[in-house]
């Protein structure tokens, strides 16, 4: 058997071999490989389609307003920015098929405390309670309407304006002290609060009545007023309304 390449000059045979190899590769890429292997836009498109086809579970607040009156009540209250599904869970099925599936309605105390239990990392002034001290074992909804949450009695006196401080103080060691124990509040302060300010303790000895060494009050943290704090007033370092007052 004669090799056809034998008849060709050696250099030409090599060139021909390389040419044939290139042609095979090119033809394979062009005609044999499936398009998905060559073109990334095809799998990009299929992935986008697959992602878009995923089922939606949270319907959003818009469909709730069509049927539920509570929506209008919620709209004006402190929970106005809450989505219905924040508490009631995903409700897409219910929105499409109102009679067959019902969303959940949390009634237990431990659901409200997910947001409203006191936690030192939460922003100052966010309404929080100490669940051990605040009407233990009673479900929150027996006093507060979750669609229009309010304190059972409207805040009076100082808390009416200084709600943030009142809420923070409520979970602090100073909870038992009335505001007027430390602040002298002129009557005029209630009429024009910015013109006539309430006072703050102006002397170290004021806090020292409970917190100095040798004070008659038992159980409070004590310091030696002579060596501790130098020229500063106590509240310039220790914020007395904070639960972590140190």
């Amino acid at each position: 058997m004669t090799n056809p390449f034998r008849k060709l000059p050696d250099a030409l045979a090599r060139v021909l071999f390389v040419f044939l190899l290139l042609a095979t590769v090119l033809l394979t890429v062009r005609f044999i490989l499936p398009p998905a292997v060559k073109d990334s836009s095809i799998h990009v498109k299929s992935t986008i389609e697959r992602e878009m086809a995923r089922p939606v579970h949270y319907a959003g607040s818009a469909p709730c307003a069509d049927c539920h009156e509570e929506y209008n009540l919620k709209k004006a209250g402190y929970h106005r920015n809450l989505s219905c599904e924040t508490c009631h869970g995903p409700a897409k099925n219910h929105a499409e098929n109102p009679t067959e599936t019902k969303p959940t309605a949390p009634r237990k105390r431990d659901f409200c405390t997910l947001c409203h239990q006191y936690d030192p990392s939460r922003p100052t002034g966010f309404p929080q309670i100490n669940p051990v001290a605040h009407n233990p074992l009673k479900p929150c909804i027996s006093c507060h309407n979750p669609h229009d949450p309010k304190p059972p009695t409207p805040p009076e006196e100082c808390a009416a304006c200084h709600a943030e401080i009142a809420r923070t103080k409520a979970v602090s060691p100073h909870v038992q002290l009335a505001c007027t124990t430390c602040h002298v509040v002129p009557d005029q302060h209630k009429i024009s609060p910015r013109d006539v300010a309430a006072s703050k303790p102006a002397e170290r000895e004021f806090c020292g009545k409970c917190h100095s060494k040798g004070s008659a009050v038992v159980g409070q943290p004590k310091v030696d007023m002579a060596t501790h704090g130098e020229k500063y007033l106590c509240w310039q370092c220790h914020y007395p309304h904070m639960p972590e007052v140190k």
Partner: protein, 239 residues
């Protein structure tokens, strides 16, 4: 004279071409949606509703170590920084740190930053992860081979290996919701509006207002990933 008129004609032609090209570019830029998110750190109360909603909406495994979005509690002490994941399913439950010299403490919600130059896309050996025209980074679960390079490459730890599919999984900004005009599940349920979602290219949207009214920061700016999740009131200790 002839040369002069030629030069003048050339200049006017170039100017016309340049002008139309610039107008075309501008039109293209304004018509393309680019999704982004704003996070107001001072509003996060760490309730974990976003984490729950994300798992519910996207079928993320319930175990407390698979997350598309998660919330971290930072506790800054005088000589130490403690970071805890606050998922309520973690046992023993992650109680706030109170002993020692605690200076400040706060929550930081985290998720995929949908980087404009995403390291995870660069390293994928099979091209399974890519950026959509809206700037959202997606994973093709049919093409992913589960090699975990992208999980290693992400500076934000935003990816995990799905334990059933054995492919990389990550936040998609709820692609299936936002393309239908809905908000991502985490934004939908956030009770304090700590998360704001919208189109970065839009002239008037809650997100644009958020970006106008706040001093913003992104996570790990030195990585040059160009994140599209913007944080306001972010503490310097947050990594």
């Amino acid at each position: 004279m002839q040369r002069r008129s030629f030069v003048l004609k050339l200049v006017s032609l170039l100017a016309a071409l340049g002008g139309s090209a610039a107008a075309g570019l501008r039109a293209a830029a304004s018509s393309v949606t680019r999704y982004g998110m704003g996070i107001q750190v001072d509003k996060c109360i760490g309730c974990g509703r976003c984490v729950e909603a994300c798992k519910e909406e996207n079928g993320v495994p319930p175990d407390p170590f698979y997350f598309r979005t998660w919330v971290e509690r930072y506790t800054i002490k005088k000589d130490d920084v403690i970071v805890q994941n606050i998922d309520p399913r973690i046992t023993p439950h992650q109680e706030p740190v109170t002993e020692g010299d605690v200076l400040r403490s706060f929550f930081v919600p985290k998720l995929c930053n949908q980087c404009d130059s995403p390291p995870c896309v660069q390293v994928c050996p099979v091209g399974a992860t890519f950026k959509t025209p809206e700037g959202i980074v997606l994973v093709d679960e049919k093409r992913c081979i589960g090699c975990r390079y992208c999980i290693q490459a992400c500076p934000y730890g935003a990816r995990y290996l799905h334990p059933v599919r054995m492919t990389a999984d990550k936040c998609t900004f709820c692609y299936h919701r936002v393309t239908k005009g809905l908000l991502p599940a985490c934004v939908e349920v956030c009770p304090t509006q700590a998360r704001i979602f919208g189109d970065l290219a839009s002239n008037a949207s809650p997100l644009t207002r958020f970006r106008r009214m706040n001093k913003l920061h992104v996570l790990k700016p030195h990585m040059n990933t160009e994140p599209k999740v913007f944080y306001s009131e972010l503490d310097g200790e947050v990594r």
